[in-house]
Structures are given as structure tokens and as C-alpha cells.
């Protein structure tokens, strides 16, 4: 095995699972998330020696792939939602942590894909406005506006029993 491939394997082994979670929060479906991660990392393999910051590249590629998957008018999504969270109607007996997770998932599902990605990148991955704008190829102003709109939307659905712990939660 070449040093190149050994380095790549090490990176994938360490980062695949967090990237899967990142993709899941972006698209809301574990299988679609996995497909997005597989596709993004395969692209990274091709250009492994040319990428200065594999972590940032992988994160960007995974989020973009996950957004693309949510936009694809494809039967593939329709028939692969076995691990997706319920689209509506929370179970009556859902309580505690599970209830909270379902509510957050439902709240995220109600946001446009890019808005959801911005919240995930900013509040889960801790990226700055500038880093998020670069990752999603959009103006910084868009990131700020979408952050504010996304947080407002979450407040409307989840109430106020949480805080946006980020310096730039505009």
C-alpha cells in the first residue's frame, strides 16, 4: 500500500463517522447521508495529493453532496427513506431526549436545505460566517441572513428552551 493510500485510509477511518452525522443533519436521511459521504470521499481520493486541507474539503463536499441529494427529484430518495425521521406527527408517547431529538429533526426538516446546512456548519461544526460562505459558495450576507432566519424558525418550533451558543448568532 502506498503512503498516499495509507494516509487517505487513516483519514477516512477517523472522519467517516462524523461526516456521516454531518450529512444526516443536512439531508435528514441516514442512507442518503451515507451515499453523500461515499461520493464525496471518493472524489477526495482522486485529488488527495492536491488538497491542502482535507478536513475542510471533505466537510464542504459532504454538505454539498447532501444538499444536492435533497434536491434530486429522484425515486432513489423516495424508496430509501427507511431510516428517515418521521415527516410529521410526532408519537404521542415520545418523551425526554427522544422527544427533543424528534422535535429538532422535524424543525430542521422544515428549513430549506441550504439554510439547514448553514445552521449545521455554524453551530455543529463551529465554522465562522466567512468559512461557511466559502464552504457553500455563497455571500457572507446570505450566511448571516439565513442564520437569523433559521434560528427564528427553530425558536418558533422548539420554543426558547435552548440557546444559540455562537458569537455570530445574528
Amino acid at each position: 500500500m502506498s503512503d498516499r493510500e495509507a494516509g487517505f485510509r487513516e483519514f477516512v477511518a477517523a472522519r467517516m463517522e462524523p461526516l456521516r452525522g454531518l450529512a444526516y443533519l443536512t439531508c435528514g436521511d441516514w442512507q442518503v447521508a451515507e451515499d453523500a459521504v461515499l461520493s464525496a470521499l471518493a472524489k477526495l481520493y482522486v485529488k488527495w495529493n492536491r488538497v491542502d486541507n482535507p478536513e475542510a474539503y471533505a466537510r464542504t463536499a459532504v454538505v454539498r453532496a447532501a444538499i444536492d441529494e435533497t434536491r434530486r427529484p429522484w425515486w432513489r430518495r423516495e424508496q430509501s427513506r427507511s431510516h428517515a425521521m418521521p415527516d410529521s406527527a410526532l408519537p404521542d408517547d415520545a418523551t425526554g431526549a427522544v422527544d427533543e431529538r424528534l422535535r429538532l429533526r422535524q424543525a430542521l426538516d422544515g428549513l430549506p436545505a441550504r439554510q439547514r446546512a448553514i445552521l449545521v456548519l455554524r453551530f455543529l461544526e463551529g465554522l465562522s460566517v466567512q468559512q461557511t460562505a466559502t464552504a457553500l459558495r455563497c455571500p457572507e450576507g446570505t450566511v448571516k441572513v439565513y442564520t437569523a432566519r433559521g434560528l427564528d424558525a427553530l425558536r418558533q418550533i422548539l420554543g426558547t428552551e435552548w440557546e444559540a451558543n455562537h458569537e455570530a448568532a445574528v
Binding site: R101, R114, F123, N165
Partner: protein, 354 residues
Amino acid sequence: MKPLSDMLREAETDPPPPRYGVDDVVALGRRRMRRRNSVWALAAVVAVTAAIGVPQIVTRRADAPPVVTPSPQLDPSPVGGPSAAEFMFTGYTTGAFQVLPPERWSLESETAYIHRNGKAVGVLEVYHPGVQPDRNRGDLKRRPTDPVGAATAFFIDDSNDREIQLAWEYADGALATVLADPRSMSPAEMRQVAEAFGSTSPRPATIGFGLSYVPAGYHLIQVSTGETSTVRFQVDDEVRARLQDPDYEDPRPTAEQGHAPRGVVNVGIGPRERQGVEADITKTVCEIHKDTVTGAESFHTCVKPLPGGLVVRVFGGDYIKQQELRKILQGLTVYGTEKPVSDVLPATARPLPK
């Protein structure tokens, strides 16, 4: 009061067991690299053979010695690319399955979705004569199976995909495939859909809008309808390179350079969200997108609002300037009904025959 970051972390807990591991990623990466190398080699050889006037097709895999004779899979007779955007079949019903009318025409194929109980369960892809979708894919294997009717049939196996693909020769040198997840359609059910297929007299592809301007040298390569209506053009050199390729795929690496394949102009009308436009817009907005890795200009987009919450989005890669995209938008007319593509596009933009 709980931080949002903690809530997000909790939301991604309890994942199902992963379907892929490091080996799967590396295997797919290797395939991508091999494919990229082989298509570059093919493009170079095609250019050389074209220059010296030798009518031969040469393919090469990175891990195999060069092949210098035509493959037995290839039809040696010259098969032309389609000269018009016309569908060769229409929707049909067989048992519990409904094959919807085709909603996508492209240089290489026509696509229709297969429904059962109103839900999409598979895809019928009817390739134009001469196109061999698996020809350049060393990672795909043909597995013979019983004929479909009297036609030769085989499964196309891709160890990376969970879908299975049944292919059969619906006419001389012309393949069709049914692609489905085995959880949605059994091989016997795929065969049922295949056996009920029949071609019809050509029927023009239609769209609900027209363009009075398409840049010179660009030719139609794709039409799709549905929630979003799209026409796609590609510059003639790239189209000619495609037509030399047995699967008509774009023979240059593209996805690595951004979302716009080389020399492509795409015009699509649909709901704002489907067009990737999150914010309300009141006037035409144009943007330049850059590759985040190389920083190079990747592609241009222009988006214009239309009545009824629709937008038209035009994008073009590499060769096209933003000014050209604006001219395309200026020449756009939205009709109340769908019209044949050949009636609503400039004659110069018609498909480029082989």
C-alpha cells in the same frame, strides 16, 4: 437552557449501522480515478485518429494493456446520434406496474419512471442505437440471463450499487435497461416490465418555454420535463467528442471542476426551491461560482423570477460568459402549453448528428 450545538450532536446519535467502510470508499475512489484516466486516454486517441483519418475506436483501461482493435461488443456500423429530440416510446401498464411517459430525452437515452401503487420503484432507460452504457466501465460486469422475449438480455452488475439493472437489446444494436432496488422490484418483475416494452413512432419532446437565442455552436443534448423543465446545450466540439464515445458520456472530467460540465449551458424553469434559489428575488441575479479548492472560475449562473413562484435559472461552465447567459434570458418566452422543442428553439441549436 441547552446549547444548540449539543442538541444538534444529540440529533445525530443512534445512527443505523454503516453500509460502507474504508474499503468501499477506496474502491470507489480507485474506480473514479481509473475511469478518469481511461476517458482522457480515449479522448486523446480519438483526437489523434481523427487527425490522421483512421476510422478506428480505441479504448484503454489504466490497468490493462491498450486494446487496438474494435471490441466485439461494438457495432462496427456507423450509428448516428439522434438528429431530433424525439421519444421512441410512450407510457404503458403491465400488471401492477405503470411506466410513465418518458420525461427526459438526452443524446444517449430516454428516461421514464416506473410506478407501483403511485410510488416510483424503478427507472426505464431506453438507449439510442449504438450507445453502450457500460462500455467504458471496467467495474461493471455483464451477467447473462434468459432472453427478454426473443432479445438477448443480461444483468449489469455493479458491486458498489445496491440497485440491479436488467438490460436487453430491444432492437439491433440498441439497449434498454430497467434499474431498480431489489427491495422494490424483484428480477422477475423487472423482466415483466422489460417484456411489455415496445417502441412507437417518434414523438417530439415538448417544453413549455422557448428561446430565441442560443449561443452559436451550442447544440441540444438534453430535454427534461416534470416539476422542472430543462433544456441543456453543449458546445459542438464537446458534443462531437461525446459521439465518439460508446456511452456518449462527456469524455472529460467535469464534476471535479464544479457543477457545470464543460461547454454546457443549462436553462431550467421550476419552483424556486427546486432551482436552488432560497431567497425571494425580484430581479435577475447573476453570480460567478469559484472552485473552492483551486479558486478558479467554475461556472456562471443567472436567475430570473417568473410569475407563480417560478424562476428560470441559466448556468454555463467554462467557455460561456455571463453576458451570453443574460442574452439567453432576454430571449425566453414562457408558453401556456407545451410545444415541440424543435418549434421553440433556434434551428442552429438542434441536436448535432454524428
